[in-house]
Symmetry: C2
Subunit: 240 residues, 2 copies
Amino acid sequence: MTVVEELRAAVSSKKLVVLVARCTVTYEGRASSKLEEGDRVILIKEDGSVIVHRPVGYEPVNYQPPGSVVSVEGDDDGFRIIVTRTKRRERLLIEVHSVKHFFSAKLEDSARFTMWGDEEDLRRAILADPSKMLGENLKPVGAEVSLGSAGFADAVFVDSEGNLVVVEVKREKASVEAVYQLKRYVERIKRETGRKVRGILAAPGFTVSAIRALKAEGLEYRQVSMKDAREVLSRLTAFW
Amino acid sequence: MTVVEELRAAVSSKKLVVLVARCTVTYEGRASSKLEEGDRVILIKEDGSVIVHRPVGYEPVNYQPPGSVVSVEGDDDGFRIIVTRTKRRERLLIEVHSVKHFFSAKLEDSARFTMWGDEEDLRRAILADPSKMLGENLKPVGAEVSLGSAGFADAVFVDSEGNLVVVEVKREKASVEAVYQLKRYVERIKRETGRKVRGILAAPGFTVSAIRALKAEGLEYRQVSMKDAREVLSRLTAFW
DNA sequence: TCGTTTATGTCGGAG
DNA sequence: CTCCGACGTAAACGA
């Protein structure tokens, strides 16, 4: 069986394909790109994802997402892999000049992937123990509160004076962007409830301009650490 | 030579490595993750990038970016690939239980990659021919204008009445986020110059809430197309 | 180095 | 579907 025949068989039987080849890559879609001839690693997955990697760099130089349609034209003297997307008018064309390596196989992977220490954990910890995380006694009244066109507020509390407190959580250093996001939520809730609303940006750090903007907008901020969050959450899960 | 020896040799001689293996992957760094045993494709690049793909999905399940340090411990009965980052305290651990496939080679790829039809093209077209792109005669006074803590304005013009006009460009449908970005720039320039400042959001489309926010904030918007931008730019480059 | 923005972003989730 | 925000975002670019 030729490489092209093997490739076609692998694609139609939804095997994973690893192709190392000298090729030229063209993309037409939301943008356009042209990659001249060179050696690349091409990954074709069973779900129609196609990923083209150059010998350096984290990101693929070209790709198509899952659900794409892969077709192969030509023979071992030179063939083309054409990947089109069903929804958008997008086309990835890989012109293969010579194959350095070909591998295909049905891969088995039903394992669970778990991630922790992300923004969600920080948010959960703040909701679970606002006193420890924010240094203030707050009564939680909602999480991921939908604000319609304004988005979602990470957490909403009532403080000891009865004011609403909107908290926006960032897992990394918060920039000016986050300040205006918080401001949007505060304004929206103010308008909707007619009550006094405080806004708190909670993050492990803040850019100088973020702090300047916070002050200018009359918003507050609290430094929170993932370490504290872990502690709060481990106390919680200890009961389960 | 055993696979582990080959792998070590390939890594130290900065070859590209493709490893298809049954493995368990653990990550500790900004967050933490655990991926239980399954078949994966592991790409190790000459620049230290390591990318772990599951049989489905566009995105790698785990990775380390270029510049990481790759080390291999163990033998063919079971080995571990440890990838650490020099700057941050981050560690990726790939415990390889069995190797399904191994390939390594020095890849040659010095080709040029060009992309067009991105946001920069749209911006350049708007600056080159605001009349055609925005339907109004504007005199460009700056591009990528630094506004200190407020960020960067894509393009600044003066209109026929002598007002400053800040234009924020989006290559795709603009959302409420873009409106507030524009607002930030307008406010800042207003404060800095004391002049009347108009703000225009230029994009191929707008979400309903973006338009609502634009009106509420007294900002303008113009629909622009990448097609027109291409035309404008091709006219420009025709002279070169 | 830090800070800001873009991305063919992708992905997930709510409405 | 659309819309919105997070991402271990990464990568580029300027200060």
